[in-house]
Amino acid sequence: MLKFILKRLLSVIPVLWVVATITFFLMRLAPGGPFSSEKQVPEEILRNLEAKYHMDEPLPMQYVRYLGQVAKGDLGPSFRYTSRTVNEIIAETFPVSAVVGLLGLLYALMIGVLSGIFAASKPNSLRDYLSMAFSMIGICLPSFVIGPMFMLIFAIKLEWFNVSGWNEPKDIVLPALTLGTMYAAYFARLTRAGILDVIKQDYIRTAHAKGLPEWLVMFRHTLKGGLLPTVSFLGPAAAAILTGSLVVESIFNIPGLGRFFVQSALNRDYTLVMGTVLFIALLIVVMNLLVDIAYAFLNPRISYD
C-alpha cells in the first residue's frame, strides 16, 4: 500500500508538468494579452510593460523561466493585481473557498447519501419517487437561481443571515448550502443507483436469510459496496467544490479562489491562470489518490499490493 501511495505521489510531477505545458502554450495562443485595454496603450509603453514582465523574451525562454520558478514553488507576481504574488492570492483566498467547500461537501454528503439510502430502501415507492424528484430539481436548478432564492428567504425575509459578505462565521452558511445542493442531488442519485446494484447480490440475500435486521444489512453489507460510485465521484467533486465557484462567490460576494480562477483567464493574467490551474490540478490528483485508497477499504476485490 505504501509503495502504491509513493508511486502515485511521484506520478504527480509529470502530470503537473503536462498540465503546465498545455496551459502555458494554450494561454499564449488566445488573442489579446494582459496589457490590452480599451484605452490603447502607446507602443513604447507596451514594450516597457513587456520588458518588466519578461514578455519580450522568446516564448520558449519564458516557458523555461516559468518552469524554473515553479520548481522553486514561486508562482510569480500577478499581472493584474500587481501588489500581490500568485502565491499570496492563493494563500489568501483558498482557505475561504475550502471552508465553504468543506461545509458544503459535508452537507451534500449527509443529505445526498441519506436520501439515496432512503430512496433505495424501498425502490419504486412514493418515498423513492419523492426523493428522486427532489434530487432532480437540485440538479436542474443552477446555483445562480438557488443562491438568490436562499438569500431572499433566509437573509431578506427571515433575516437569519447577512445578505452577503464575509465578516462573521455565519456568513459561511448560505454559500455552503448553495454550493452543496447540486452535489447533494448527485450524491443521492449515485447512492441510490449503487445500492440498487448491490441489493440484488447473493451476499445480501444471505444476510437477509440469516435473519439480520433490515438496517444492519443496509449499513453493514449493502452500503459498503453501494457507496462505490459515490466515492469515485467524491474525488473530482471535492476538488471542484473546495476550489470554489465563481457563481456562488460572486452572488454572496465572498473572497474565494473560484472568482480568480475564472477572471484570471478573462484578464489574460498569465501567471494567475497558471498558478490557479496548477493548484487545482494538484488538488484533483491528491483527491483522486485519496479516493483510490478509500476504494481499497470499501472493495475487497481491489488491492494495491
Binding site: Q40, E44, N48, K52, T82, S83, V163, G165, P255
Partner: protein
C-alpha cells in the same frame, strides 16, 4: 440641535432625468431655498460616521503611477492628493497640495507653491522634490506606467519614457526649493492644470516605494499616502478600509470616520446589500430593475434612493473606413441617419441616457450641436436613401455585407440587435452581428479586422480634447483608419491656444469635420445609475446639500457627512 443642523432641500426630479451636465451642477447649490418649505425636514450629524460603498470590481492596484481602472481610482482619489483637485461641482482646479500657482504668459511654465503643512501620512514632509521624484518615476520606462502618456506634455517627457533620453535631469521638472515646483511643458497645454488632479500625477511616497521590493509598498502594512484618508486595510475581494489621515493639511474638512470600499461585481447582490442597509451607495443598478426604481423615484421625490447621473462618456460605433461599403462617407451618413437614438435610450437602456447627436458630450462650456437625428424622421430616411443611391447602392442593393462587432455583453447585444432591425426597416439592408469575448474583441479592434465595431470612451479630464484628439491621424485610439489633415490641424491648434473661446472654436471646427465624415457613429452619452441613501450629505457653506456626483464621476469624500433625521 447642533449648530450644523440645517433645513434640507431636495430637488430630485430635476436631476433625475437627463438634464445636461452643466445644468445639473448648478442645481445642487441653487435649489435649497425653494425646496425648504416643501419637505421641512431637519437633520443632524449621525453618531456613526462609517460610509459603506459599492466599488464594482476588486482594485488592480493603488499605486497612483500604475492605476488605470475606475475602482482603483475611487480609492486613490481619496487616499492621495495631487497639486490641485477638481471642485466637485464646477470641476475647476482648486488648491490642494499646491496652495497657489502661476502660469507663464506663453503657457509653457507652471510654478506651483507647495503648502508648508503638506505632509505624508507617516508625518514626514511632502515637498516639491517629492513631485519631481514621483513624476520622473511615472516616466521611467521600467516603471511601466500605462498612463505615462499623461505626462508626455512635460518637456522631454515623451522621449524619456520612450528611452530616447536617458538623463532624468533633462525633464522639465525642477524643485528650486522645498516649496517650489516648476514644470516646463513641451507645448502650451491648456488643460494641463486639470490634468494635475489626475491620479497618475499624484505624488508617491519615495520613502516607502524605494524601501520595499516590487509593489509591496502598496500593502496595507506599508503604504503611506497624502490624501484626506489613509488606507488601513486591504483584504482581497473583501474590502478596503480607509480612515482619516491625521497629517492631512485640511483634516478638519474630513468628517467621515471610516470608509469601506466593497468590491461587489454582481449588481443584484449589490442591490440586495443596499436594500438590507449594508451599503450607503451602490456602484450601479441592475439594468432590469431600473424602470421599477425610476417609477418609484417619481413617487417618492425627496426620499428616493435611485438616481441616474450624466457622465462624460460616449457610446459609439467605429467604422473601418478602409472597408467597403463604409469607406464611403455617404454610406456612413446614411447609416447614422437611420438610427432611432431616442428609442434605444428609452426602450433598452432606461437610465436616462442622452441620445448623442454629436460625438463629444457637453463638457465645461463646450457643446456641439450635431445634425444627427434623435429619432428617425421621414426626411432623414429620404436623405439616407438618396445618399445610398449616390454611393452606388440604390435601396441597399449590391452592398457588401456589414457585421456589427461587439464585446459579449447583454446590453451591447440588445443595442446591436435594435440597430440591426432599424437599418433593415429604414434602409432595407441586412446586417449581421458578431460578438467576441472582451480581450479577443480588443485584439480584433487593434488589428482593424471589422467593418463596424462598438466602442465607448470615458473622459480622463473634463475637456473636449480627451474625446477629440482620439481621431488625429495615426492616434493610438483612432482605430478607424480615418485621417483628415484639416482635422489634425484644428486639434493641434486647439492644443496650443490658451484662450478658451478660441480653443473651443477650433474644437467646433474639428468636430464639424468629424460629424460630416463620420468615421464614428455616435449613439448615446452615458449616465451612471446609482442607489444612494439620501442621508449622505455634502457640507457646502455650512449647509447640508444633496450630493450630485460630477460628470467624471470623481468623488473625494471631503466635507461629506452622514446625517439622521431629527
Amino acid at each position: 440641535m447642533s449648530g450644523f443642523t440645517r433645513v434640507l432641500g431636495v430637488f430630485l426630479p430635476l436631476v433625475l432625468m437627463n438634464v445636461s451636465c452643466t445644468k445639473c451642477n448648478k442645481e445642487s447649490t441653487q435649489a435649497l431655498p425653494s425646496a425648504q418649505s416643501k419637505t421641512g425636514q431637519t437633520f443632524k450629524e449621525a453618531a456613526d460616521q462609517t460610509l459603506n460603498l459599492g466599488n464594482g470590481a476588486e482594485p488592480k492596484e493603488i499605486d497612483p503611477a500604475l492605476v488605470t481602472g475606475e475602482p482603483d481610482g475611487n480609492v486613490v482619489f481619496n487616499i492621495f492628493e495631487g497639486l490641485v483637485t477638481l471642485d466637485n461641482d464646477t470641476l475647476e482646479p482648486q488648491p490642494a497640495v499646491a496652495e497657489s500657482w502661476t502660469i507663464s504668459p506663453d503657457g509653457k511654465t507652471y510654478t506651483f507653491k507647495i503648502r508648508k503643512n503638506a505632509k505624508w501620512s507617516d508625518g514626514s514632509e511632502l515637498t516639491a522634490e517629492d513631485f519631481v521624484w514621483s513624476w520622473t518615476r511615472v516616466l521611467t520606462p521600467m516603471t511601466a506606467s500605462e498612463y505615462a502618456y499623461q505626462l508626455y506634455y512635460v518637456k522631454n517627457g515623451e522621449d524619456f519614457n520612450k528611452g530616447k533620453i536617458k538623463d532624468p535631469n533633462m525633464l522639465g521638472l525642477k524643485a528650486p526649493d522645498k516649496y517650489t515646483f516648476v514644470v516646463e511643458l513641451a507645448h502650451p497645454t491648456p488643460f494641463f492644470l486639470k490634468l494635475c488632479a489626475f491620479y497618475t500625477l499624484n505624488p508617491t511616497p519615495k520613502q516607502v516605494v524605494t524601501k520595499f521590493p516590487g509593489q509591496e509598498w502598496t500593502k496595507e502594512e506599508n503604504i503611506v499616502s497624502n490624501g484626506p484618508y489613509k488606507l488601513v486595510e486591504w483584504k482581497l475581494n473583501r474590502h478596503i478600509k480607509a480612515v482619516p489621515n491625521e497629517y492631512y493639511w485640511d483634516k478638519d474638512a474630513v468628517k467621515l470616520k471610516e470608509i469601506y470600499f466593497y468590491p461587489i461585481e454582481n449588481s443584484d447582490t449589490e442591490e440586495k446589500m443596499f436594500l438590507s442597509g449594508k451599503l450607503h451607495l451602490t456602484n450601479t443598478v441592475p439594468p432590469l430593475r431600473i424602470p421599477k426604481y425610476e417609477e418609484e423615484a417619481k413617487k417618492m421625490g425627496a426620499d428616493a434612493t435611485y438616481r441616474a447621473f450624466p457622465q462624460l462618456a460616449s457610446y459609439f460605433y467605429r467604422f473601418n473606413v478602409k472597408r467597403k461599403p463604409v469607406d464611403d462617407w455617404r454610406v456612413r451618413r446614411a447609416l447614422a441617419l437611420t438610427i432611432d437614438r431616442t428609442a434605444l435610450v428609452k426602450n433598452i437602456l432606461h437610465a436616462g441616457q442622452v441620445p448623442a447627436t454629436s460625438f463629444t458630450p457637453p463638457v465645461h462650456g463646450y457643446s456641439f450641436k450635431g445634425d444627427l437625428p434623435e429619432t428617425v424622421t421621414p426626411a432623414a430616411i429620404a436623405e439616407a436613401k438618396k445618399l445610398l443611391a449616390e454611393a452606388g447602392y440604390p435601396d441597399g442593393k449590391g452592398m457588401e455585407k456589414i457585421e456589427i462587432h461587439y464585446n459579449t455583453l447583454e446590453a451591447h447585444k440588445k443595442i446591436a440587435v435594435a440597430i440591426q432591425s432599424m437599418w433593415k426597416t429604414n434602409l432595407g439592408i441586412d446586417v449581421g452581428l458578431f460578438n467576441q469575448e472582451w480581450k479577443v474583441y480588443l485584439d480584433t479592434q487593434v488589428k482593424m479586422d471589422f467593418t463596424v465595431s462598438r466602442a465607448g470612451w470615458v473622459a480622463d479630464y473634463p475637456d473636449p480634447n480627451t474625446f477629440l484628439d482620439m481621431f488625429v491621424t495615426g492616434g493610438g485610439n483612432n482605430k478607424t483608419n480615418w485621417s483628415n489633415k484639416d482635422y489634425d490641424h484644428y486639434i493641434e491648434q486647439a492644443g496650443q491656444t490658451m484662450d478658451e473661446a478660441k480653443r473651443f472654436d477650433y474644437f467646433h471646427k474639428a468636430e464639424a469635420i468629424l460629424l460630416k465624415e463620420l468615421p464614428v457613429l455616435p449613439i448615446y452619452f452615458y449616465t451612471r445609475p446609482r442607489l444612494a441613501t439620501p442621508l449622505l450629505k455634502r457640507i457646502v457653506g455650512g449647509k447640508y446639500v444633496v450630493w450630485v456626483p460630477n460628470v467624471i464621476d470623481r468623488t473625494v469624500y471631503k466635507n461629506f457627512v452622514l446625517v439622521e433625521k431629527i
